[in-house]
Amino acid sequence: MNPWKKDFPILFQQVNDHPLVYLDSAATSQKPNSVIEKVAAYYQGYNSNVHRGVHTLGTRATDAYEGARDTVQKFINANKREEIIFTRGATTSMNIVARSYALVNCKAGDEILLSPAEHHANLIPWQQVAKQTGAKLVYMPLEADSTILLEKVRPLITNKTKIVAIQHVSNVLGTINPVAELAKLVHEVGGIITVDGAQSVPHMKVDVQDLDVDFLSFSGHKMLGPTGIGVLYGKEHLLEEMEPVEFGGEMIDHVDLENATWKELPWKFEGGTPIIAGAIGLGAAINYLQEIGMDQVEAHDRKLTAYALEKLSKIEGIRFFGPLENRIGAVTFNLDSIHPHDVATVLDAEGIAVRAGHHCCQPLMRLLGETATARASFYLYNDESDIDQLVTGLQKTKEYFGHVFLG
């Protein structure tokens, strides 16, 4: 058996009288005992507000919360802890960049360059910025296999380009975008790059200094952590010049009846009682991942994705979306003319959890010419046997619908 699966208690249950096969980690990952226990230990032992008061529990909670920030900083190799802002998730992080950076720095005639495969969370904020500032959205072309060719993107990056907003890894296609190269190109013309790391940070070593990205957003719940916690990384000089988007307690320095000043980074962006248990849980998740090593996590997830593509391709009538190699985390497909909801329902009856739908990527679905697709996604607790079950489940789906269609 997979050496890590034992750490994930949820995986040992029956669903519809079959052992659960969880293939929906791109939507949200499962949590190891160490994370669950760490969150429980906070509530059981030192639940308290942070940065306030002088009592002992408060100090312990503050140390744990700020300790989690240091853990995140090291994990993505940020230069300073001030560059790590805790948020509610990737969506919130990207909205902060759009509202606090882009609304101020974009004007009519400027361009924001994106890929048409973006998750709605890295698309709609930019539509709003475009509407409010008059900046123009420019889309990179996708190749037939839905990948991006740098040569075709290069001419689109001009001195009008203020922002490149792109996902590092696609939640539908599993493609890995050339973020470091894009960063170099946009910096040459004086623009910035903001990266949606929701699907890359869980699966691979992401080093913000190596990639030289200006902003990176990701969610704790997709990387073994709790829901409700996420991270916005931003280069210090950019965060310094940005205004907070939420005002209230925790983020202020001096307040009088007419005016207030802000705390220094990172707290000026963390108005209100922060997500203390979430941050502590995310810290525990990162510790767990680092004990295994991100290189090993990446190798495992790439290997499983390749294995899935190979095994599933033997099923007659399956159509894949995205490239057939160099992808990570997810395999997206349709089977014959069976609607993906129907596929997912038959698989669920076999205890196999996959996602069916547009995966929050409606423009991409239109490009692919589908209204919905099925997606199986993998993480470190999956192994080949899960994929073999999926293959069997899909064979049954074919038989089942073949039977009702003919019957």
Binding site: D342, A349, A356, T371, A372, V404
Partner: protein, 141 residues
């Protein structure tokens, strides 16, 4: 796969493969388009309503077997009904989806009874109700 057989009854697959009333009506018909934003299903429903009576109904759409079969059955049921009768069916159908025991004989076509199995698949109820929501919206216009 016995509960699956409850979901995918043969009549449902028949309506899915050979949808009744698929297409468009002339200009002037009431026209409603509804999406299921969580999964991308889409239905566009057209109806001719004269003197409070539904004369004709047609639909087009994209979706799974349950949503399209339900649309096909719905359009078959409502032709010739008054608006009030149609709204009564909407209510009846919605209660059926919540698992309530209802008198399925009240439906003008008996095929609809086959959709009772959907109530056991909470994730699929939205698929079955999409066309009925479009009907409700349409007759209230």
């Amino acid at each position: 796969m016995s509960s699956l057989d409850d979901l995918y009854r043969r009549v449902i697959m028949d309506h899915y493969q050979r949808p009744r009333n698929k297409g468009e009506l002339d200009d002037g018909a009431i026209s409603i388009e509804l999406n299921n934003p969580t999964c991308g299903d889409r239905i566009s429903l057209q109806m001719n309503v004269e003197n409070g009576m539904i004369k004709d109904a047609k639909f087009q759409g994209e979706g799974c077997s349950i949503s399209l079969a339900s649309a096909s059955m719905m359009t078959e049921s409502v032709k010739g009904l008054t608006v009030d009768q149609a709204l009564h069916l909407v209510d009846l159908f919605s209660r059926m989806m919540q698992g309530e025991e209802i008198d399925t004989e009240e439906f003008p076509i008996e095929d609809i009874e086959a959709l009772t199995g959907v109530a056991k698949f909470p994730a699929r109820i939205k698929c079955a109700t999409l066309a009925w929501k479009a009907l409700e919206k349409g007759v209230k216009q």
